[in-house]
């Protein structure tokens, strides 16, 4: 049995419901979700090999989504998935900039997220495989073209090669077949998207009307398969 730790925010929902739909295809995998909404996962602090919540709100969120665990014991897992956590797709500005300036911009882009500092903390605790990806691209209104733009692919390649590789981490694009109009998610993945907040009244209910950022389980399953493929599991 391979145990995988998923660290995410509200976007954990699509992965969770996606996992529910494909778990039978992976009988040797076990996924544990550690998630809290918005930027609350920034409250995870390293204590030896453990990532522990530093406030009660985060502790409660971790406990409810992980099935009762109080913290992440990195030694209990074989691999880690970091998803969303306020990391957006990096789509570079057109135009010429010096390499130093671009490096500064990319450093700022990453450090504004919760994912990047959490990855650095996690990497300092474990040398096990880690895969990461930005949160879902905003859903487009209608399909004008299919697939990603060159700028999108270039931007993710830059992050993967120049930044995540230094953390010995694989950084993945959103699956290309979910992308429309260059850098948007196909709106069909909004249909049936649900909240994942166990022990709360709104668990399993739909996101707020007009939400174009949170995707459904079908999307999550595609994302997970992409992570699993990278982890060769």
């Amino acid at each position: 049995m391979t145990s995988i730790c998923v660290l995410s925010n509200s976007h954990a929902a699509c992965l969770k419901y996606g996992w529910d739909s494909i778990a039978d295809e992976y009988p040797d995998l076990n996924l544990t979700f550690f998630a809290a909404s918005q930027d609350r996962m920034s409250g995870l602090t390293l204590d030896g090999t453990k990532l522990k919540p530093n406030n009660e709100q985060l502790a409660a969120a971790i406990k409810s989504r992980s099935g009762g665990l109080d913290y992440v014991e990195t030694e209990d897992f074989d691999a880690f998935i970091l998803y969303g956590l306020y990391l957006r797709a990096y789509i570079p500005t057109n135009g010429f900039y010096s390499s130093d300036c671009l490096a500064a911009a990319r450093a700022g882009f990453l450090s504004d997220s919760v994912l990047w500092p959490l990855l650095q903390t996690l990497r300092s605790a474990t040398d096990k495989p880690i895969v990461a990806a930005h949160g879902p691209l905003q859903a487009g209104l209608e399909v004008e073209s299919e697939g990603p733009s060159g700028q999108y692919v270039f931007g993710q390649n830059v992050l993967a090669e120049d930044w995540f590789s230094r953390q010995e981490t694989s950084y993945l694009c959103q699956p290309h077949d979910t992308i429309i109009n260059g850098d948007k998610t196909n709106p069909k993945y909004l249909i049936g998207a649900k909240i994942f907040v166990p022990n709360r009244e709104d668990d399993g209910k739909g996101h707020k009307s007009g939400d174009r950022m949170h995707m459904n389980g079908e999307f999550g399953a595609k994302m997970l398969k992409s992570f699993f493929s990278e982890l060769s599991v």
Partner: protein, 348 residues
């Protein structure tokens, strides 16, 4: 007895305009020649003090034209480090009228851009923007590409602007003796190496500055016939002088020349106005209250007072704009990018 002084307004008399007023109640120092409307585009360039004008315009809901934009997600701190949003494009400080002329001639292909670059410890520095990148460029190709982008952005900021605000800062300049182009900073101070054979000091005369300013404005209006200019003179004293005079005397001499040129330009040309930021900061009436303790740097209260005067005089003459005004951004010393201050390091 009738005489022409009888019909003059209060502002024409020292007693009523200055002596009987608290210094902060002095008003009407400027009678703007043009109505700068919030939707109109304003380009700003010049010496260190010019940086405050663009930010203040933007802070009040005016359109500060920034034709060279930073890459996505560059932090505010790094924007300043890499000189984005300091002036309308990344020219660095343009201290003299002749430097402005040089940039305009390069931007409109009147004169070829010199090929000189400076190298230090494997990094490359632009002699015409020596601090534009905090650690120089990685190679010559990157430097030249960046300069081309800046030149195009500078050109665009002239073509697209309704108003061009230029703050005149210095008369002392450094020239390449052989090819006669000008450096914004003496080689060997920020970067490069000083060579007494190649690098010539020139303290520009009133006549030279006036001629350069006229030629430059003429060239700019050849490409944008509707462009109007607002001149200011930097109130900031010289950091150092090469004139053999005491720095205080040299400062007064330089500023007097610049102020006189600005006066001539606004007298002679209907498309040129002068805004008296220099007087507001430097007049004895204000008792040095707007200077930092080093008696050189202008404090943020001074900047705010100057810019409040700019807008209050505009509103008094043309009415308050209908758009909601935003509060002026406070400026701290750290926000200001000033190459010339590096000369202070050479004071023993």
């Amino acid at each position: 007895m009738s005489n022409p002084y009888k019909d003059l307004p209060e502002t024409a008399f020292w007693k009523t305009a200055v002596a009987t007023r608290n210094m902060f109640d002095i008003e009407g120092l400027w009678d703007p020649k043009f109505h700068v409307r919030p939707h109109q585009k304003v380009s700003t360039y010049g010496s260190c003090f010019a940086q405050h004008i663009g930010r203040a315009l933007q802070g009040r809901g005016y359109r500060w034209l920034k034709s060279e934009t930073p890459p996505i997600r560059l932090s505010e701190q790094d924007k300043t480090r890499f000189n984005y949003g300091i002036f309308s494009s990344r020219t660095g400080n343009i201290y003299t009228a002749s430097l402005l002329k040089q940039w305009v001639q390069w931007a409109f292909d009147e004169v070829a851009v010199p090929t000189e670059v400076w190298e230090k410890d494997g990094r490359y520095f632009d002699p015409f923007r020596p601090r534009i990148e905090p650690n120089g460029f990685k190679d010559v190709e990157e430097l030249l590409a960046s300069r081309s982008v800046a030149l195009e952005a500078f050109r665009q900021s002239i073509l697209d602007a309704n108003f061009f605000v230029f703050t005149m800062g210095l008369t002392e300049s450094w020239i390449n003796a052989e090819q006669e182009y000008e450096y914004p900073m003496c080689p060997g101070t920020v970067a490069g190496e000083f060579d007494p054979e190649s690098h010539k000091f020139v303290n520009q005369s009133f006549q030279t500055i006036r001629q350069d300013m006229r030629q430059t404005f003429r060239l700019m209006r050849k490409h944008n016939a509707a462009l109007k200019f607002i001149l200011t003179v930097s109130p900031v004293p010289l950091t150092a002088t090469m004139s053999d005079q005491h720095v205080l005397v040299a400062t007064m001499a330089s500023k007097s020349k610049l102020r006189a040129v600005a006066d001539c330009m606004q007298e002679e040309e209907k498309f040129v106005d002068y805004f008296p930021s220099y007087e507001i900061i430097n007049s004895p009436t204000f008792r040095g209250a707007f200077f930092e303790p080093n008696q050189r740097d202008v404090n943020h209260r001074g900047v705010e007072f100057v810019m409040d005067m700019f807008f209050s005089c505009t509103y008094a003459k043309y009415g308050t704009p209908p758009t909601k005004s935003k509060r002026t951004e406070k400026t701290t010393k750290q926000d200001v990018v000033c190459e010339e201050e590096l000369l202070e390091a050479f004071a023993e």
